[in-house]
C-alpha cells in the first residue's frame, strides 16, 4: 500500500528520529527544566538543558507523544546544542514560521529538520511539531530573565 501524502509527512528521517531518538533522557546537572504539554492531545515533554555563559551546552528530553512531536524533540535537541541563547530563540521562531508554511530566514541551517516541512500541510499536527521548540524557547527565555 502506498499513499503519497503520508510519505510527505512521515519522511524516513522523521521515522528514524522517532524510532531511535537522540538525546533522550534526563540531563544530570541541568540548570534549566521545562515541562510542557499539549492539552488537546495529551502530548507531554520534559526538557532539561544545561546553559552556561549564554551557551546551551547540553540538552535532553523525555516525553510521550506522536511520531511528529517526539522526532521534532529529538531533532531540536541536536540543533540547539552549542547555540547561544539568542540563536536558540531565533531558531525556535524560524521553526514556527516553517511550520506555518512561511518563508524561513536562511541564517538558520535546519538540515534534516527540513523534513518536518511536510507537517505544514497537516494543520491538526502543527502543534505536535512545535511543542518541543516552544518548550525550549520558554526555558531559555525564562532563564535569561
Amino acid at each position: 500500500m502506498k499513499n503519497d501524502k503520508l510519505d510527505q509527512l512521515y519522511r524516513s528521517v522523521i521515522m528514524d528520529h522517532y524510532k531511535t531518538p537522540r538525546n533522550k533522557g534526563v540531563l544530570e546537572g541541568s540548570n534549566v527544566t521545562i515541562d510542557m504539554n499539549n492539552p488537546t492531545c495529551g502530548d507531554v515533554i520534559h526538557l532539561t538543558l544545561q546553559v552556561e555563559d549564554d551557551i546551551v551546552k547540553d540538552a535532553k528530553f523525555e516525553g510521550e507523544g506522536c511520531s511528529i512531536s517526539m522526532a521534532s524533540a529529538s531533532m531540536m535537541t541536536q540543533l540547539v546544542k552549542g547555540k547561544n541563547k539568542e540563536e536558540a530563540i531565533f531558531a525556535a521562531h524560524a521553526f514556527s514560521d516553517m511550520m506555518l508554511g512561511k518563508e524561513v530566514d536562511e541564517s538558520v541551517d535546519f538540515g534534516d529538520i527540513e523534513a518536518l516541512t511536510g507537517v505544514a500541510k497537516f494543520p491538526a499536527r502543527i502543534k505536535c511539531a512545535t511543542l518541543p521548540w516552544k518548550a525550549m524557547e520558554k526555558g531559555i527565555a525564562g532563564d535569561s530573565e
Binding site: 499513499n3 503520508l6 488537546t40 492531545c41 502530548d43 507523544g65 506522536c66 511528529i68
Partner: protein, 406 residues
C-alpha cells in the same frame, strides 16, 4: 443489520476525503445529520421563523407551536410524565452545569458527598469539582472493574448517608460500557441522594425511560442523535425543578418584573432565559422522529453487530489493545483501542489520509485515561449509517498504519 440504504439519508457521507470515499467513524463526537433534519431546519427558516411566546402574529404562533411541539417530542422520547419536566439547554454540558449550579448550590453543604466514577466525561466531573470547592463538599470517585464496568457493590460501598448527589454516565464515550443506572438509582435513593444521569451517549443508541429508571435528572445533546449542534435537553422531576432557582435571568423566563424584584415563569420556561434555541429544538425533534422511525432497538442491535464484527476483526491484528468490556453485547457502538508502536495521532492521520475519520486523544476523559494508564487512545464509533464495509476499510487502514510504523 439495518438497511444500508439508510446511508442515502445522509448527504455528507456521499463524498471523497483525501481521494477516498468517506468512512465516518466519529459519531460519538458528533453524529451526521439526515436530510430530514436539514429540511426541518430549512423549512423553519424559510417559512416559520419568528420569536416565540411573544407575538400575536401568525408566524409567532407557528414558531411557538413548533418549539413547544418539540418539547412534547422530547417528553415522549424520554417517557417523562409532563413537558414541565423538559428544559431545553445548549447540550449535556449546560444541563449538568445547571443542576450543579442550581440544585447543587441550594442543597449541598460542607461535608456532604457527591459521587461520580472514573469513567466520566469532563462535563460530568468539573461542575461537581466546582460545586465541591465552593461548598466544602467531598467529591468521591467509584473505582471501575478491570474490564471498565461498574460493580453495584462498589457503587453501594461508596455511598453513605452524607451522599447527596450521585452523577453517572449511562453509556461511556470511551469504553462503550452501559451502566446499570436503574439499579444505581435505587441505591442512591436508599441514601436519600438524587440521581443525575449523563445520557449524552445513551440517548442516540438505546431506549430511555426516565420513569422506569426513576432518575431525578437526565441530560443529553441533540447533535449526537442526528440533530443540530447547540441544543439538548435536561429532564428533571417536577418537584425538584419547581424548587430550583434559575441560573440565567432575563427575557422569556420572567413573570413579573419590578424595579428591585422579579418573579419567574412556571416550569419549564423559568430555566430558559432569553430567546430560546428555537430552530435547534425543531431540528432535534426532527432527529428524534427520524431515529424513532428506524427504531432505537434496531439501532442498538445494528451497533452491537458492528462492534462485534469490528472487535473480532481487530483482535486478529497483532499488538492491538481494546479497552472496555470484551463482550460486544455489553457495549454501545464504541471501540477504543491502541495499536502498539503507533501513536493514536499518527494512526488518526494515516486513517484520515485514507478517508477514514476516527478520534484520537483523551476524549475529554483525562481521569479515565489515567485509570487506563495511557496518555491517549484511538476511538472508532459507529452509528446507524455505518456498515461492515466501513469496518473493513478501517482494518485496511490499521494494517497500513502498522506497516508504516513497523
Amino acid at each position: 443489520m439495518l438497511n444500508p440504504d439508510i446511508r442515502n439519508d445522509f448527504p455528507i457521507l456521499d463524498q471523497e476525503v483525501n481521494g477516498y470515499p468517506l468512512v465516518y467513524l466519529d459519531s460519538a463526537a458528533t453524529s451526521q445529520k439526515p436530510r430530514q433534519v436539514i429540511e426541518a431546519l430549512e423549512h423553519y427558516y424559510k417559512y416559520d421563523n419568528s420569536n416565540v411566546h411573544r407575538g400575536v402574529h401568525t408566524l409567532g404562533n407557528r414558531a411557538t407551536e413548533d418549539y413547544e411541539g418539540a418539547r412534547e417530542t422530547v417528553r415522549k422520547f424520554l417517557n417523562a410524565s409532563s413537558t414541565k419536566e423538559i428544559v431545553f439547554t445548549r447540550g449535556t454540558t449546560t444541563a449538568l452545569n445547571l443542576i450543579a449550579d442550581s440544585y447543587g448550590r441550594a442543597n449541598i453543604a460542607e461535608g456532604d458527598e457527591i459521587i461520580i466514577t472514573y469513567m466520566e466525561h469532563h462535563s460530568n466531573i468539573i461542575p461537581w469539582q466546582q460545586l465541591a470547592k465552593a461548598t466544602g463538599a467531598v467529591l468521591k470517585y467509584v473505582d471501575l472493574e478491570e474490564d471498565g464496568t461498574l460493580s453495584l457493590e462498589k457503587v453501594s460501598d461508596a455511598m453513605t448517608d452524607r451522599t447527596k448527589i450521585v452523577s453517572m454516565m449511562y453509556v461511556s464515550n470511551v469504553l462503550g460500557t452501559m451502566n446499570p443506572i436503574k439499579e444505581i438509582t435505587e441505591i442512591a435513593h436508599v441514601h436519600g441522594a438524587v440521581m443525575v444521569v449523563d445520557a449524552a451517549q445513551a440517548a442516540p443508541h438505546i431506549e430511555i425511560d426516565v420513569q422506569d429508571l426513576d432518575c431525578d435528572f437526565l441530560a443529553f445533546s441533540g447533535h449526537k442523535l442526528c440533530g443540530p449542534t447547540g441544543i439538548g435537553a435536561l429532564y428533571g422531576k417536577k418537584a425538584l425543578l419547581e424548587a430550583m432557582e434559575p441560573t440565567e435571568f432575563g427575557g422569556e423566563m420572567i413573570d413579573f418584573v419590578g424595579l428591585y424584584d422579579s418573579t419567574w415563569k412556571e416550569l419549564p420556561w423559568k430555566f430558559e432565559g432569553g430567546t430560546p434555541i428555537i430552530a435547534g429544538a425543531i431540528g432535534m425533534a426532527a432527529a428524534i422522529d427520524y431515529i424513532q422511525s428506524i427504531g432505537l432497538d434496531a439501532i442498538e442491535q445494528h451497533e452491537h453487530e458492528l462492534v462485534a464484527y469490528a472487535m473480532e476483526q481487530m483482535r486478529t491484528l497483532e499488538g492491538i489493545e481494546i479497552y472496555g468490556p470484551r463482550d460486544a453485547s455489553k457495549r454501545a457502538g464504541i471501540v477504543t483501542f491502541n495499536l502498539e508502536g503507533v501513536h493514536p495521532h499518527d494512526l488518526a492521520t494515516v486513517l484520515d489520509m485514507n478517508g477514514i475519520a476516527v478520534r484520537a486523544g483523551h476524549h475529554c476523559c483525562q481521569p479515565l485515561m489515567k485509570w487506563l494508564d495511557v496518555s491517549a487512545t484511538a476511538r472508532a464509533s459507529f452509528y446507524l449509517y455505518n456498515t461492515k464495509e466501513d469496518v473493513d476499510r478501517l482494518m485496511e487502514g490499521l494494517r497500513m498504519a502498522k506497516e508504516y510504523f513497523q
